[in-house]
C-alpha cells in the first residue's frame, strides 16, 4: 500500500473541560484538520484506562491520542497527574511490545484549537509514514 492510499484511523480521547473545548474551538473557528481522528469525549483524561487504549489498538485503530488539560489546570485538580502516571507506565510496556509510537499523550487548553489542528496534521502524517513502512516489512505477530 502506498502512502497516499493509506488513511490511518486514530482514536482521540478528549477531556470534557479543556481538550474537547479545544477541538470544539477548532471546529467553530473552521480550522481544517485531517478527518482521520475519531474523537471520544470523556469527563476527564484519567477516565481513560489502559484497557481502553489496548481495546482501541486491538480492534484496528492505528494510533491512540489521549488528551487532557495542562498540568495544574485539571477541572478535578489532580486527574491529569493520574493520567500522566498511567500513560508513562503504559508507554513503558508498549515500548517493550514494539507499539510505543502508536500511543501519545498531549495537553490542550480550551483556547488551543489551532494547536490541536496542527498537532493532528503532523501526527497523521507520522502514522502514515510509519505504518506504511511497517507494512512493507513482514510483521510477525503472536496470533
Amino acid at each position: 500500500m502506498s502512502k497516499s492510499e493509506f488513511e490511518p484511523r486514530i482514536v482521540v480521547f478528549a477531556c470534557n473541560w479543556c481538550s474537547y473545548a479545544a477541538m470544539d474551538l477548532a471546529g467553530t473557528s473552521r480550522i481544517q484538520y485531517p478527518p482521520n481522528v475519531r474523537i471520544v469525549r470523556v469527563m476527564c483524561s484519567s477516565r481513560v484506562t489502559p484497557e481502553m487504549v489496548l481495546t482501541a489498538l486491538a480492534e484496528g485503530a492505528d494510533a491512540v491520542l489521549i488528551t487532557g488539560c495542562h498540568p495544574g489546570d485539571c477541572h478535578y485538580l489532580v486527574g491529569n497527574y493520574k493520567t500522566l502516571a498511567r500513560y508513562t507506565l503504559l508507554k513503558n510496556v508498549l515500548d517493550e511490545l514494539g507499539l510505543g509510537d502508536r500511543v501519545r499523550l498531549e495537553w490542550f487548553s480550551a483556547g488551543e484549537g489551532e494547536r490541536f489542528a496542527q498537532y493532528v496534521r503532523s501526527f497523521v502524517e507520522e502514522i502514515k509514514e510509519r505504518v506504511v513502512n511497517l507494512q512493507a516489512s513482514t510483521p510477525e505477530g503472536g496470533r
Partner: protein, 328 residues
Amino acid sequence: MNLPAKVKVAFYWNASCGGCEEAIVDLGEDLFKVLEAVDIVFWPVALDFKLEDVERLSDGEIDVAFINGGIRFSEHEKVVKLLRRKSKIVVAYGSCAHLGGIPGLANLWTKASIMDYVYLKAPSVVNESKTLPKEITQTDAGDLELPAFLDALKPLGQVIDVDYYVPGCPPTPNVTLKAIETLLSGKLPPKGAVLGASARALCDTCPLNETKPEKLAIKEFRRPHTFIPDPKKCLLAQGLLCLGPVTRGGCEAKCIKANMPCTGCFGPLDNVLDFGARALSFIASIIDQRDEEGIKKALGPIIDLVGQVYKFSLPSCPLRGLIKRKEV
C-alpha cells in the same frame, strides 16, 4: 450433567515446568479420596498409558481432562485436540493453560531468535558443531522425527474449546480439591468459569489487609531482596509491588505469608479484559509523583515492567497479534 459413579479422568501436560503435576500429588492424603471417585485413564507423568490407549477410547468417553501447560509444540496441539474429542469436559489447569504463564513471555521474541539464543548464543552453551534440533533427521535406520516448535506459545483456550479454568502457578491443593469437588458434584457452573478460586481479589482476604492504609502513596518502589519486610504490615505499604488488589483470590495468600508480594498467578477477576492493563492502572494509581521524571524514579527499581504485569498472561493480551517481536 450427570456423571457416572466412577468418573474417567485424564491428565496431560504441555509446555510446563511439571509444577502442576506436582500440585496433584501435593493433595497428599486427599489424593486417595479423589482416587476412590475417579478412574484415571491417561496420565503420562505418573502412569504407564500410551497415546494409543486414548485413541482407542470412544469420543466423549473421558469425563474430565485436566490439561496443564501452554501450547508450544505441534505435538501439544495434536494431543490436546485428541483429548478434546475424547472428553466431555476439558479443564485448563494452572496458569500456563489458563493464560499462557511464564513460558508465554517468550512471545516477546521471534521464534528464530529463541532457537538461536538457546542453542548457540547463551553463555552456558557449548555447541561447536552448531547442531540445532530439526523436525526430520535422516539416519541409516530411517527418518527420526521431532515435534515442530510453533511460532508462539498459546494458552489452551486459543487452541481448543475449554470448559473450565483452574488458576494458579501451581493451583494450590485447596483450589484443586475444590475444583474437583465442583466437577464431581454434578452442579456445574456456566462454561468458561474459573473453578476452585474466589470471585474476589486476593487483597480482600489477605491477612495483612487490616494494615493496608486507606490511601497508598508510593514515592519509590522497593524490591524484596533489598530489605526484610515486616511480616505484620501490608507489603504495599512497605513499598513492595504486590498485585493482590487486581489478582483473583483463593490462594490463601501463601506468598504473602512468606513475605513475598503477589505476582498475579491467579489471573484477573471476572469481567477484566486484560490482567496486565488492569495491573498497570493499579500501579499508576498508587504512585505519588507528579512529573514524568518522578514517575520513572518511582518505577526505578522495577526493571522489567512487562515481566511484572504480564508475568503469567502475555499470550492472553488483546495486543498479542500486534506485538513486534524482538531479536535477541
